[in-house]
């Protein structure tokens, strides 16, 4: 009897640790944050001591031009980073999709950038962008071109480049995996029908890869909103607010200005923004998946 009970309880016992940990360290904090966002709360108070101010934090933020600028920077950063990385990553995957010896070595080298700590990536690029001792300006100088103030005049572009360096391989490797798992029959059929390489890519490979590409893009998009350390080390949000993405602003509001309530409200705005984007992407995926299924069916029929 006791064995039977153990067997009946065991699923719960297997789940329990994970559930408990996620409840106390993820769900409860998120609820706590929502609760805190209605309060005028500074780090030296416990939340109970903080005064309840209703929606004040949200309204202040809504009217705060700096906050809006920060959202703008975040969206611009995410948009450019994701779209450029997608184009480059998928392009490289299509280009390098062939059996060459040493491909695994190459892949190892490509994943190196994303394994390295963002903090270290930030400092490497900060060094390379340095106005006088940096690699780029040294190079420009040696070939007689004027120096560029990378982290001053072109700060946002510079951090976008650094992120592209770190994360394009991610998309490259996923696209490559997707490419190599495509049904060979469909590609064969297309080649026999005399489709040019471009037509193959455009009409067969890309549509078939689409579901994976969308998930990949979504993951990158979500991660683009998480980028913080690289920017913190490279520019700390400056000059002005030109690189102050939302994550960085939240952390500065909490630690530097000591307004936990406002930071919590900002966090909620960020979450809502992310949720909207995810839902939109999901809806888009469903439509694309339906289309991909049609293409696949058609391709298989043709073969």
């Amino acid at each position: 009897m006791s064995i039977a009970r153990v067997n009946r309880l065991s699923p719960y016992m297997f789940m329990a640790p994970a559930m408990v940990i996620m409840a106390i360290a993820l769900l409860y904090p998120l609820g706590y944050m929502i609760w805190g966002s209605f309060r005028d709360w500074n780090p030296s108070q416990s939340i109970g001591e903080a005064e309840f101010v209703g929606l004040k934090n949200y309204i202040t933020l809504w009217n705060d031009p700096n906050f809006r600028e920060s959202i703008g920077v975040t969206l611009r950063f995410a948009f450019f980073v994701v779209s450029i990385e997608m184009v480059l990553g998928v392009g490289l995957a299509l280009l390098l999709d062939r059996d060459i010896r040493g491909m695994s070595v190459l892949r190892t080298m490509f994943i190196l950038p994303m394994m390295i700590a963002p903090v270290v990536v930030g400092l490497m690029w900060r060094y390379m962008y340095h106005p006088t001792i940096g690699t780029f300006n040294r190079f420009l100088e040696s070939i007689g071109l004027p120096k560029v103030d990378w982290l001053g005049d072109y700060a946002l572009t510079s951090i976008i480049i650094a992120d592209i360096w770190q994360w394009t391989p991610f998309i490259f490797i996923l696209s490559l995996a997707a490419l190599q798992s495509l049904p060979r029959s469909a590609l064969e059929a297309a080649r026999i029908d005399g489709a040019t390489p471009w037509q193959q890519i455009w009409h067969i490979k890309l549509p078939l890869m689409m579901p994976v590409l969308i998930v990949t893009g979504l993951l990158r998009l979500i991660d683009a909103f998480k980028v913080l350390e690289v920017i913190l080390v490279m520019t700390n949000g400056g000059p002005g607010l030109s690189t102050e993405i939302l994550a960085l602003r939240i952390s500065r509001t909490a630690t530097e200005f000591r307004e936990l309530g406002v930071a919590a409200a900002m966090s909620n705005y960020l979450l809502i923004l992310l949720l909207l984007l995810t839902v939109a992407m999901f809806a888009f995926t469903r439509i694309q998946e339906a289309r991909a299924a049609r293409v696949r069916a058609a391709a298989e029929e043709a073969s």
Binding site: I3, V6, S10, Y12, F14, M15, P17, A18, I21, M22, I24, A25, P29, L30, Y32, G36, W41, P43, S46, I47, L92, R98, S104, R107, T108, M109, F110, I111, L112, M115, I116, A117, P118, V119, V120, L123, M124, W125, Y127, M128, I133, T135, F170, L174, A177, S181, V215, L219, I222, L228, E229, V233, A247, I250, S251, A254, L260, S267, L271, L275
Partner: protein, 309 residues
């Protein structure tokens, strides 16, 4: 199309890509062996006298001798390195054990549909660490505390010293807890796809031999999903090893991790490039080793996350 294989342009592209992805790392490696004077004055390229002085400065608190060029040891990199190792290893092991158990339960006992799990995973993955900063900071410092006059709190204070109420903030456990929670959904997601492939008959055979559910899990299932565990381990370790923001909010002077030390060291008064590069290199070494040894598992983990999901 096949004849393009010999195309020199093709190899030029590959060479360029390799150069671009590895170049900055090599640059950092080279600079970590240069004196600041050499870095700043720009005696360019590889013509310099390598020195280990930067590494001596960084590691001064664990060296058995006192480096001659230092007046006092301010960096205490060794301590931070040990903290990083403890936190990353413990949180990786915990995440794997707890996560694989949960993944097993989800697959074998059909708690929720795979869709629910995928959506939950995606939702949790969506939460940026910066969003957790405020609540975790508040909870770990103020709520998740034991009264120092209480039974357990008092015992902890008596045996470990320190002052004030016993709170999660400032302890290794506090940082480990949040890392485990952050990584769990991802690990569960990846491991599910491996557990599905374990043939049921093996488990049933073990059960007939009289093994309980936990024995079946640890002795039969876990060994079979080793590749999945390896992939999940690398990803968990990477996040725990590299994370800065939450650790900086939760650690105190004794539990600082390496990323915190590096950010702190980019201080206002003296950017000592050589030393910073050396600390960066030391932080990057474990991930680089993993990449070289286990790139296949990393790629498995990445593709399992996106392609199969």
């Amino acid at each position: 199309m096949q004849n393009q294989r010999a195309n020199p342009a093709f190899f030029a592209v590959i060479a360029l890509l390799v150069f671009m992805s590895v170049g900055p790392v090599l640059l950092m490696f080279a600079n970590s062996f240069k004196l600041d004077v050499d870095i700043i004055s720009g005696t360019s390229g590889l013509l310099f006298l390598p020195t280990i002085q930067n590494y001596e400065t960084a590691l001064c608190d664990v060296l058995w001798y006192e480096p001659e060029h230092l007046d006092f040891c301010s960096l205490k990199f060794g301590g931070a390195f040990i903290n990083s190792i403890i936190i990353a290893l413990v949180s990786t092991v915990l995440t794997l054990v707890i996560g694989s158990m949960a993944a097993y339960a989800l697959v074998r006992f059909r708690f929720m549909g795979r869709d629910t799990v995928s959506i939950t995973t995606l939702m949790v993955r969506m939460v940026p660490p910066a969003v957790l900063l405020v609540p975790v900071f508040g909870l770990w410092n103020n709520e998740f505390c034991l009264d120092k006059d209480g039974l357990i709190g008092g015992a902890i204070r008596d045996s470990f010293g320190g002052r004030g109420d016993v709170c999660l903030a400032g302890t290794h456990s506090g940082i480990i807890l949040i890392y485990v929670a952050m990584n769990l959904p991802f690990v569960i997601w990846i491991l599910q796809s491996f557990i599905v492939q374990v043939p049921r008959s093996l488990e049933e055979a073990a059960r007939v031999d009289g093994a309980g559910p936990f024995q079946v899990f640890f002795k039969v299932v876990l060994p079979l999903i080793k590749p999945g565990l390896a992939a999940a381990a690398i990803f968990t370790f990477r996040i725990a090893w590299n994370e800065y923001l939450l650790a900086s909010a939760l650690s105190d002077r004794n539990t600082k991790t390496v990323p915190i030390l590096i950010v702190n060291n980019m201080s206002e008064f003296n950017v000592e490039w050589g030393v910073i590069m050396a600390t960066g290199m030391l932080l990057a070494i474990p991930p680089i080793i993993f990449t070289l040894l286990a790139s296949r598992q990393i790629i498995t983990g990445m593709t399992a996350g996106a392609v199969k999901g």
